[in-house]
Amino acid sequence: MSTPVAMKPAAEPATAKSTARPAARLTGFMPLIALVVLVAALTVADPDFLTQRSLTAASRTAAPLIVLAAGATLVVLCGGIDLSIAALASLSTVLLALWLPDLGGLATPVVILAAATIGAVQGVAHVLLRIPSFIVTLGGMSVLSAVALVVSGAGTVRVVDDTPVAWLDLYLGGYVPMSAAMALLVVALIALVLKVTPLQSWVSATGYSESAARLAGTPVDLVKIGAFCVSGACAGFAAVMLVSRQFSGGPTMADNLLLPAVAAIVVGGTAITGGHGSVWRSLAGALVVTLLRVGLPIVGVPSAYEQILYGAIIVVAVALTLDGSKVSIIK
């Protein structure tokens, strides 16, 4: 050592919020707290809500949204956004319904694979053409919707024999809907793969600072394409769940899940600017959003007030769950 200088451990406290530890931890659990509060509120409004059957139904309802949100969370973590998930899921329901008679049980993996491929194609377009993901997937959304309309002849495709996807409608141990269990599995799997491989740091680095990640030799382009690919695959799987539930595929079936899915991600506390967040957060967010979507009308909130409440609660939930210290400028 040539220098006797005693450097301060942190010369310039970067955020000056280092004391906010307990508070920060609280924000970390906010999605869970929001969930609990919401369940409590719904129970107060209608005591019947807190029954095993009711919660089972809610978890089954939430399953496709959880899967959609989990996939899209990866894209958001990388700093992008995927607006095509819902349209892709709709298209996938049509494809699945069309292919089930011929391919049987094979249709499910084929559809998921096809959806993953479509996701990857969008990722490639985003990376190679350097178009913002918002635009690529906005365009993708309309293109995929158009394809779904044409392929289905603008009508719903009924699934007469749904045995190959009926397993998703079973219940584990009689209580846990298989679809919810699978959704949980998808979330756990994504979280696990991220955690035990270098992917976690690659994804976060890409999301926090793409240029720094690239200059550190991180395969930024591949990571992004991969994120879109997984997002697509999740959309495909969500479609399988929808088909198993509705016994049909439709060109607009999942379209209305786009904004709830994005809401789930943000309510979970994942920063829409990238880097900060996790799929577990999106799981909690998806449950909150589902309860709002389904719970409010069930406990007897009139439709007009339901929308007002939905809007207000979503905004408040995001305000609570977003860790302001991690994001400097909020656009």
């Binding site: 029954t51 059957r53 309802t61 719903t156 599995l185 756990a188 999942a254 209305n256 589902t290 389904v294």
Partner: protein, 361 residues
Amino acid sequence: MKFTSRPAAAIMSLSLAAAVLAGCTEQAGGEDTAAGSSSCESKDVRLVGQVRNESNPYEASWLAGGDAFAQSVGLKQERLTYDGDSTKQQEQISQILAGNTKCLVMNVLPNGDADTPPIVKGADQAGAYLVTQWNKPADLKPADHKTWLSHITYNGIESGQQIGDALSEAIGGNGGIIALQGVLDTAAAKDRFAGLEASLKKNTGVKLLDQQTANFSRAEALTVTKTLLTKHGDNVKGIWAANDDMALGALEALQQAGKAGKVAVVGIDAVPDAVSAVQGGTMTATVSSDGTWQGGIGLAIGYCVATGKLKVEDIAADNRAFFAKQFLITKSNAAEFAAPKTNPSDFECANVFNRVAGPLT
């Protein structure tokens, strides 16, 4: 944030996988509340009415009709709306069915044909009384089910044909017309258009210039009509719309194109605005489908069965899926339909099938 540590996540996923492998799966639900076995007290009956939204007049009147009936028997209707979102409809139904289904009566407007089977299946399993309206696949029949009491619809072919005929009469049996279709994936839209085609066969002087879907929406009808008017110009003598909302949108388009009164317009549903338009002469004809009655009757049938005043076995097969009576409304009889009228006696258990026009074909 960490909801789980890595070991916890690993254990969780492992146990999940184990559970799947062990195959401890079974069908859930369906085990309780065998329907019809015991009749319910009137006060225990739970009435649920579900339509797309409260923001269009027809469905608003449906819910109002349901409320009126519920009030007449001292109950309250639970109003559900799903914004025309099939997914949300299923989610709401499955949430409702997860509650107390013992004396549950549902009067449902399925979003599309394909949305009916899962609703029926869910109601079957939960033993809830179900009346569906408008949309169902042809091969699915209430008679094959125990708690799916009835499916009510209007004869779309008939109404489509009736207004088609009225339109050709209005344009003197000669000239071009354009058609505005409804949501393509609905029996209503398909039947009504089939009715128009039948009418066209009969009235050979009338030529269908173009047909586009405007999804039963007034705003979409406005733009579609405008575009079609520029495309076909003065060749357009009449506009056939699969519902009144679209017909009203078409009227606006005509007015903006300076063709108000020069082109005949027909629709179906007899929403108040359309009836007054017919009365005022800007619209040629519409066909009554009585939303208020539909909202009440579905609940009434279910209520009667639930309280044991009506036995499922006693319902005539023809009444398990039927066309309700409808009327062509033209300027001559429009005044009669200007004010919606529900007759409480229509909902008495002995009268619930009074408006049956014929079995579903």
